[in-house]
Amino acid sequence: MRTVLDPTGEQRTAERELLPRPESLRGRTVGLLDISKPRGNVVLDRLEELLTADGAVVRRYRKPTFTRTAPVDLRHEIAEQCEVVIEALAD
């Protein structure tokens, strides 16, 4: 019997159920996260217009840089303040 040692991080990924999708965004708070890629604001501005027209309450957020993950505080802020979030990955 040949034995080798597992080279991986031996992580067990926690599986989480998706939250139920809202039937409508009317009256919901929707967060728009700009990851700071050039012109990400163009797509998010348009999304904000469309969402507002549909009766959603839009809040805007921005990562300091697209090269790093969002700071913990920002993630908490979004989770606290929003019911729905849209993240734009755009160039």
Partner: protein, 471 residues
Amino acid sequence: MRYGPAMQLPDGLVAVVKRECPTCVLVEPVLRELGAAVWCQDDADWFEHDDLELELSYRLGIETVPTLLRVEAGEETARVVGWSREQWEELTGRTGLGADLPEHRPGCGSLSVDPFRIDALEARYGGSGLGSRRVELAELEDEHEAMFDRGWTDGLPVVPPTPERVLRMLRGTTRDPQEIIAIVPPDLVECTVEKVAVNAVMAGCLPEHLPVVLAALEAACTEEFALHGLLATTYFSGPMIVVNGPIARRIGMNSGVNALGQGNRANATIGRALQLVVRNVGGGRPGEIDRATLGNPGKLTFCFAEREEGSPFAPLAADRGVPGDAVTLFAGSGVQPVVDQLSRTPESLARTFAACLRVNGHPKLPMAFDAVLVVSPEHGRVLREAGWDRARLVAELGALLTLPSDELLRGVGGMAEGISERLAGTELPKFRPGGLLVVHAGGDAGLFSAIVGGWVSGETGSAPVTREVRT
């Protein structure tokens, strides 16, 4: 009878022998006369017991055969090695042992301390302290295919990381195998020295390479190096390692002919080990988190030593505040040649360097990407003879690469790419402060240098990181 961990030694006299040892053969009649319980290491039929697996020998710490023990209530109370009538008589309380034997004969080495077996024995019986999950390969599995099948390789074969190989690798460092040395992105997994050793075995490292791999991983996982983004980017880059200090020569690294190329084990395996840790421990795999549009061949491995001898510059790491053995990590994107076979003055050569550096990423994008300029010995000689050190060269290049922004605007030169109109009418540096690194490497011949382009630089991206190599 085989010895197992649950077995207690019988009270009385116990001996360990091997048939290949002339002293053991010599004392055979004495052992039989004494009625000792004898375990033989290399012949199951010689005495009543055998220790072909060497478990008993390992657990008892037998270094020499024959070894004679006195056991009382299951505990060893006395031990002699080799043959000495006086000592054997003292241990056994008998007289006149082996009357026809010489007074004294030294024993032979126990098989359990054979350098070729000790790692396996330690792995099997030593309570090795290895914490990694053990994966048993089925008899019919090809061990190399098994590594591929489990997704553990970078596309090339790896050395199967058996417990004995990992234990041997860990002898390359004095650090505790369970010490956590980095949190590896993208999955942010705590990585122990042991996990690094497992991947270093797979990469083909020798134990003496391990301290460099550990330092490289520590540097790569700092906040400022931004390894998560570097991995996830669509850009070309991956971690490049430059090694400074006496350790480079001691572990056989190449800083000379073909320094950025293939054929040197230390260069090739150290860079590869870092990438395997990112893949296996961090979970960063191409097509998943790694979204590189094209990538570059240096993402398999990209590691070399600076050629400190004959260099016009102080060692790179020393200039960055870490003298001695050190690694410098850079988000490298592949190699661009610089050809200049005619410049014999530093002023002329610097202009060549500047012209080639200007195109880094795009000739109209300033301060976007860092770069490493790898100066070859023949180019370095021009600088050295003129007394230009690194600071002087970087300063001269800074002046030559201060660009009129009007040349860089979008649309200029018929190219849409460029900077915003808002920046018109000024001057901009090609490189941010600290964004151009210079190292000396390469073979004696060739008026060629190299540029290794970087990635999104500085606080918004990756900054080069230098760390001491500790043993």
